[in-house]
Structure formats: C-alpha cells, structure tokens
Symmetry: C2
Subunit: 214 residues, 2 copies
C-alpha cells in the first residue's frame, strides 16, 4: 500500500477543471488508460450491482460525428478518449441473477447461499414504483466522480458532459441495441495550451457556506 | 504539480471496499480531514452550480442516534466522520444568482457581464417540467464518487450509505430547516481489524462485459 499525500490530492483537485479545449494531438498512453478503465470497472455501486456499461470512443471517424449531438461542443472530437456512461435500461431480475452468479464465482460459494442477499436486492429495487433508471443513473454518477478524480490524480484532463443528445448517442454507438441507455459522458485527454478556461480561478462557494460540522 | 503513479491509483481503488465495521477508536487526523473536506468543496457539478451542502457529523451523541435511522447499521456510530450529502431542495433562481455573484467576485468581473450565462442556466434548469431535485441529486453523487476515490488514495476507508431514512436525517441534523434535503451519506474512518468483509475478494464483472471500445 502506497498512500498519496493529502497535499498531492488537494493540489490535483485544484489543478483540474472542466476542459473546454483539448489538444487533439495528445493521447492518453495505453498504460495510463488501463488504470482509468479500471477506475470505471472498480467504481462502487449500490449493492455492488454495477448497473452500467462504459463505451469508450477513440475511433476518429466516430468521434467526428459526436459534436453535432453534443451542442456543437468540440471536446468529444478533440479529446483522447470519450467515455459514455450508460445505464442498464430498466434493470430486471436477470441482472441481479447475473450479479449473484458472479459473486458466488468470485467468493467460491454456491449461488443458493446468496438467496437472502438476492431477495433483499429484488425487494428493494424491483418494486413497480421504484425509479430503477434513476437509481442506476445515480450509480453511474458515482463512477463519473471517481473517474474524474482519478484522472486528476494522474494529471489527465476531463470534461463532464451532461448536455448531449443521449438518444442520438444511444443510436450511433449501438448502446440501446444492447439494452443500455446513455446517461452522461466525459471527455478525457490533455488541455490545449490556449484553453483560456485553464487559467481562470476556480469558482467555489466558501467552505463555510457548503460544509457544516455537527 | 506532483502526479500520482497509475499503479498507486489502481492499488488504492483495489484496496478500498464498502467498510462494514469501523474501528471506533481511530479518527481521521485534522490535516487529512481538511483535504477530504476540500474534495467535497472542489467537486465538479453541472455549470459549477454546487447545488449542495455537506453535513459532517463527529459529535458522539449525535452519531449515536444515527444507526436507528440507518437500518440499524453501525457505521454512522463507529466511523470517524459521517458525511451527509444534501441537495439544495427545489433550487431556484436565487441560488443561480448567488452563483453568478460568486463567479463575478472570483473572476473580478461585473455580474451583468454574466447575464448570458445566467440566462442559459435559468433556461435549462428552471423549466417547470425539469426534475430539479433529481438533477441536484446526480450532482451530489459526483461528489460522493470523488470523496470515496480521494479517501482511498489517502488510505482512508469509506462506506456509502443509501439505505438511510433521509427524512429523519433531515430532521435530526436540522437539514430541512436550512432548505436542504438529504440524498445519501458516507461513513469515513478506518476499518476494524476484524471486519470480515475486508478480506473478501472484490466482486466486479469482467472488464470486457462492462467496457466496450469503439
């Protein structure tokens, strides 16, 4: 275990910003990307259910089509890796079964021994009135937060993008055809030297206005 | 700028898990906590609007009351710092104005110069049909993801807690009285030596099942 000093964590969070202009010539190295990919895979989620799939767009021809469905913003085109966070659309019992089977496999126990755990998840999540897609979207936002924080630690820039046409992303990337639905996206790569937003002071409310100790 | 090696980031994400049993005798140091507090303050949010407030419970008497409103789980009692993530309930134009004023202050420009930015935010977020509380909750989950990732980097354990009685948290912590509403919580501190969950292998779907390159 090799801990990261607190001052490094804080300095990297200060360094990051929502990058408006990426340098299209700079790509994330394969070894760095492997870590960021694992930051997605390892992201925490409710019950550990991972109700998601991450679509990583690096193909230049596909990336070139994305600004038109992203309010004409160029980050999806100019970044190194465009990450599309998709939820499992209307997650049902078959996904819970898949997760139970995977848990049994990893823990080396019979799936039947997890019947109580399965029942609890089904009871909590599969009620008709439960907003399952919104629940899944919240989980995806945990992954988004973890991804951006880890990228910042490694000196890699990101720009979260909520203002995208999710239905068009679903269509062009074949996401809906697999039973998933786009929630949000995040461009990753390196800031352009002339991104004027990079030098603007970060705007945050005062700590005492957003944190209260009890 | 002092970058964190990718292998360190990945090792710390592997190390973390949803801690079931905290060591009540171990507290997060003041200097480490200052960094974690800033990981909340610096969290990214849509438009940078920070539609949130973070309530940090360390008072032992208050913490002792929380398990009863947390499905009898003991993490809120045994952890070092219990973080309650609250959204600004039904965020309105006055919050957008507050943010515009803060942006003007930090950037040293007149608030009127941000009229177009303000109009865009109002137009996007304050439509009657827009689910403003759900939007705010998603932002809070970004902060949750960033908080857990940063804690892991620093060797600090966390347990995200969705299964809490938010209305009771709102009440006992005086959250609703301030115009906020509890969304989710996260216990932070150090794992107990006998938390059997600490040694269970992490359960994740195979990378090829949750990541697709395009």
């Amino acid at each position: 275990m090799s801990l990261v000093p607190g001052h490094t964590v804080q300095a990297q969070l200060q360094w990051r910003y929502a990058t408006k202009k990426f340098d299209p010539s700079r790509k994330i190295s394969e070894s760095d990307w492997q870590v960021l990919e694992q930051s997605l895979v390892l992201s925490p989620s409710s019950f550990g259910l991972q109700p998601w799939k991450f679509f990583i767009v690096t193909n230049p021809e596909v990336k070139a089509q994305l600004p038109a469905m992203s309010w004409r913003q160029n980050q999806p085109h100019d970044c190194s890796h465009m990450v599309v966070f998709a939820i499992r659309d209307k997650m049902g019992a078959e996904h819970i079964d898949r997760f139970v089977a995977r848990t049994a496999e990893v823990h080396g126990v019979p799936p039947e021994s997890l019947a109580g755990f399965r029942k609890m998840m089904v009871g909590s999540l599969l009620k008709e009135t439960f907003p399952i897609n919104e629940w899944a979207t919240r989980q995806v936002y945990i992954a988004l937060g973890q991804f951006m924080a880890c990228a910042a630690m490694m000196g890699i820039d990101t720009c979260p993008m909520e203002g995208i046409d999710c239905a068009k992303y679903d269509d062009i990337l074949g996401i809906s055809a697999q039973g998933f639905a786009t929630s949000v996206a995040c461009a990753a790569g390196y800031r352009a030297a002339d991104d004027k937003y990079a030098v603007l002071p970060k705007v945050r409310f005062l700590t005492e206005d957003v944190v209260q100790e009890i």
